[in-house]
């Protein structure tokens, strides 16, 4: 089995060192599920004792809060914090920058205090302390690849280097877009936009972003967020480039080198 729930682990008398917060997209979205599985395989490979919450996990509340629905946010957050505290969770990893931001920055004042890391940070850590050894070569070596900073990992939390360090360890030829790091352009999904149509305008934000990515003439586009994955892929479809240019999450690329 790829991953055990924290309840299953406890019934075996074991406590995980880290909880993998899967998130709604990671749990239900077909594309994001692949990232979820990839991260589980990486953690298993590195022999990290981890668990998931399974059916006890709820939406972190990010889209509700940003839509303006504070009641719903407070409810779902309080339930999550009750669960996390009941299991005595200390450290959390998540592959979703929105969950990452909410758990890290917004749960503490609601009584939920955890060390929260994004999966790109954790994978870096595992490589640095020798728990994860990457094989030489691989498909991505020397490939021209562009990296899209998600708003919630980047500007919202100033994490720019961890994902780039992973790209470096994959020996790719990283080509930055014009707007990157602090000046990165949003994919268009944040602030609960994922759940609604764009307001009237000239074009979709995802299209604006993918056009910029295509200017770098990449063989692949890399992201760190399930919503960015969807948006960038939609943009590529609109450009009829989705057959030629894949969009990867960093964990999927790392997995090919284990």
């Amino acid at each position: 089995m790829l991953a055990k729930t924290i309840a299953e682990l406890q019934s075996e008398g074991r406590t995980p060192e880290i909880l993998f917060w899967v998130g709604c997209a990671g749990s239900f979205d077909a594309r994001a599920q692949k990232v979820t599985r990839a991260l589980c395989e990486i953690l298993n490979h590195a022999e990290v004792e981890f668990a998931i919450l399974g059916s006890e996990e709820r939406c972190s509340g990010d889209p509700a809060r940003r839509a303006g629905n504070e009641f719903l946010f407070q409810m779902t957050a309080a339930m999550n914090i009750e669960t996390l505290n009941m299991y005595g969770v200390k450290k959390i990893v998540t592959a979703c920058p929105h969950c990452f931001n909410t758990l890290k920055n917004e749960y503490p004042e609601l009584g939920g205090n955890y060390e929260v890391v994004h999966h790109t940070q954790l994978i870096n850590e595992l490589i640095a302390n020798g728990k994860l050894k990457l094989k030489e070569g691989g498909d991505f070596k020397g490939q021209r690849i562009t990296y899209h900073d998600s708003c919630y990992l980047g500007r919202a939390n100033d994490v720019y280097e961890a994902p780039r360090a992973l790209l470096e360890s994959l020996d790719v030829d990283l080509v930055e877009m014009k707007r990157s790091r602090k000046n990165g352009l949003c994919c268009g999904a944040g602030g609960a936009q994922m759940w609604k149509e764009d307001e009237p305008g000239e074009k979709r934000i995802s299209l604006e972003r993918i056009e910029e990515a295509l200017e770098t003439n990449p063989t692949a586009v890399v992201a760190n967020c399930p919503f960015c994955l969807t948006m960038l892929q939609d943009g590529l479809k609109a450009k009829e480039k989705n057959e030629q240019i894949p969009v990867y999450d960093l964990s999927e690329m790392i997995l090919t080198r284990l």
């Binding site: 089995m1 790829l2 991953a3 729930t5 899967v22 709604c24 990671g26 749990s27 239900f28 599920q33 599985r37 998931i52 399974g54 059916s55 709820r58 939406c59 889209p63 509700a64 809060r65 940003r66 839509a67 303006g68 629905n69 504070e70 009641f71 407070q74 409810m75 779902t76 309080a78 009750e82 931001n101 920055n105 917004e106 004042e109 609601l110 708003c151 919630y152 500007r155 919202a156 939390n157 100033d158 000046n183 352009l185 949003c186 268009g188 999904a189 944040g190 602030g191 609960a192 609604k196 149509e197 764009d198 307001e199 009237p200 305008g201 000239e202 934000i205 299209l207 604006e208 972003r209």
Partner: protein, 435 residues
């Protein structure tokens, strides 16, 4: 003697008008809810020094940054000369500090002159960027009318200020060289030592004296004009950038302000014990629909905005043709604060029971609010740490929590989170991906 009296009269009335204007700005800012901002003095001073004084964030775009720096440094250093203008103006002296400071005086005035030339060039370039090159961020709909006139007026004022300085110094140098009484030697100024004779060398003593006096009065009149105009202009940023960077939030940009009043209600409803320290807050309306329900800090930010539009140029919604413009949000808050402030000052309304049938929603439409992706690009772009996103989110909260409005498309998401615990309604188990 006559000139001294005239000077004191002009200085006195200008100070009075300026004080009235600044006082109204202070009152308008405090229409907002009190919010205590304290702690982390070290980091706050760092922001004031690096971002306001040091203009760190301006240097993301080096060309306007360098030009702006010329005008800024020229402005600051010219204040030194202003001290002398005041002394001379009140006591009828002429270049009071020159005999005491000697070579250092020559150095200071020369620095002012060099910077004034640089500022002059920068001002001409800024005027062309706005009016000839028509840089995109200066052509947005929210700048139509007064905001565009305001910007051009300020730039024109800078040209007049600099003209005044060179008439005054240039005339003075010509008279010094001719040995005219009263115009004692000050050493060679970097620019007017050659510019003065080149421009005014052929004129009679009386004419040059008139030009020197004209320059002196033109300069000081423009300074007073600026002072009185500042409270009504976007140019107020030259003062408010400093408190604004001090009071700016220090938490991660991704952090949204908590609502303790709702937290309290939800915990009671769920049968959870209160958190210690006890959550405070009062009920009533949630979110913000007017200046009264925003924090005073949001309104300070609106008055600190110089409408440069770096936020709007970085906004993904605006870039792709949506109606949202973060700069317009800040301008709307300021305009609304002005409107409310006027009503209260005229005695027609009182702050506590204010009702003119209008709100911020008359200026900022739901379409604009709904276009925001909360990406923080506007917050990152602002050179003086203004946060338009915070206002947008407070207004979204008002829409959903108080008006029970908002995009209908969000309802299924709300329902799924409430009933199924996931942002989408799903039939399979949350951990089904394992199998």
């Amino acid at each position: 003697m006559l000139q001294s009296l005239l000077f004191i009269l002009v200085a006195g009335s200008a100070s009075w008008f300026a004080w009235k204007g600044f006082r109204q700005v202070w009152l308008n800012i405090h229409l907002g809810k009190p919010e205590k901002v304290a702690g982390n003095a070290g980091e706050r001073w760092r922001n004031v020094f690096l971002i306001a004084l040091g203009q760190q964030k301006m240097f993301k775009n080096w060309l306007p940054a360098v030009l702006h720096l010329f005008i800024y440094v020229a402005f600051v250093i010219t204040q030194v000369e202003l001290i002398e203008i005041f002394v001379d103006g009140i006591f009828g002296t002429h270049r009071f500090f020159a005999p005491y400071l000697g070579g250092f005086y020559t150095f200071v005035i020369s620095s002012i002159e060099v910077l004034s030339v640089l500022a002059f060039v920068a001002t001409i370039i800024f005027l062309s960027r706005r009016n000839l090159l028509r840089v995109a961020r200066f052509q947005k709909p929210e700048l139509k009318g007064f905001p565009t006139r305001d910007a051009n007026l300020i730039l024109l004022g800078e040209i007049i200020l600099i003209t005044g300085i060179f008439c005054m110094n240039g005339g003075d140098k010509v008279l010094q060289i001719r040995g005219v009484e009263h115009y004692h030697l000050t050493g060679d100024f970097a620019v007017s030592t050659w510019l003065g004779p080149a421009l005014f060398g052929g004129l009679s003593d009386a004419a040059v004296v008139a030009i020197e006096r004209f320059g002196w009065w033109l300069h000081i009149f423009t300074v007073f004009g600026f002072l009185c105009y500042l409270p009504y202009s976007k140019h107020l940023h030259i003062i408010l950038a400093f408190p604004n960077t001090w009071y700016a939030r220090l938490t991660a940009k991704g952090h949204m302000e908590n609502m303790p009043e709702i937290q309290k209600e939800v915990r009671i409803m769920m049968g959870l014990p209160p958190l210690s320290p006890p959550e405070g807050g009062e009920g009533g309306e949630f979110g913000a629909n007017d200046v009264f329900s925003l924090s005073w800090q949001n309104i300070l930010q609106a008055y600190s905005c110089t409408e440069c539009g770096r936020c709007t140029a970085a906004c993904p919604a605006n870039i792709t043709g949506k109606k949202l413009s973060p700069r317009k949000v800040m301008m709307d808050v300021r305009d609304r604060a002005e409107e409310v402030g006027k009503e209260i000052a005229s005695g027609k309304q009182q702050a506590a029971s204010y009702d003119d049938g209008k709100s911020l929603f008359d200026r900022i439409t739901p379409e604009e609010l709904h276009a925001c992706t909360t990406c923080n690009a506007c917050v990152e772009a602002c050179p003086v740490m203004i946060n338009p996103l915070d206002i947008i989110l407070q207004m979204r909260r008002h829409e959903i929590l108080t008006q029970s409005a908002g995009p209908a498309e969000w309802l299924p998401m709300f329902n799924s989170i409430e009933n199924g615990g996931a942002a989408w309604a799903m039939s399979e188990a949350r951990e089904a991906w394992r199998d």
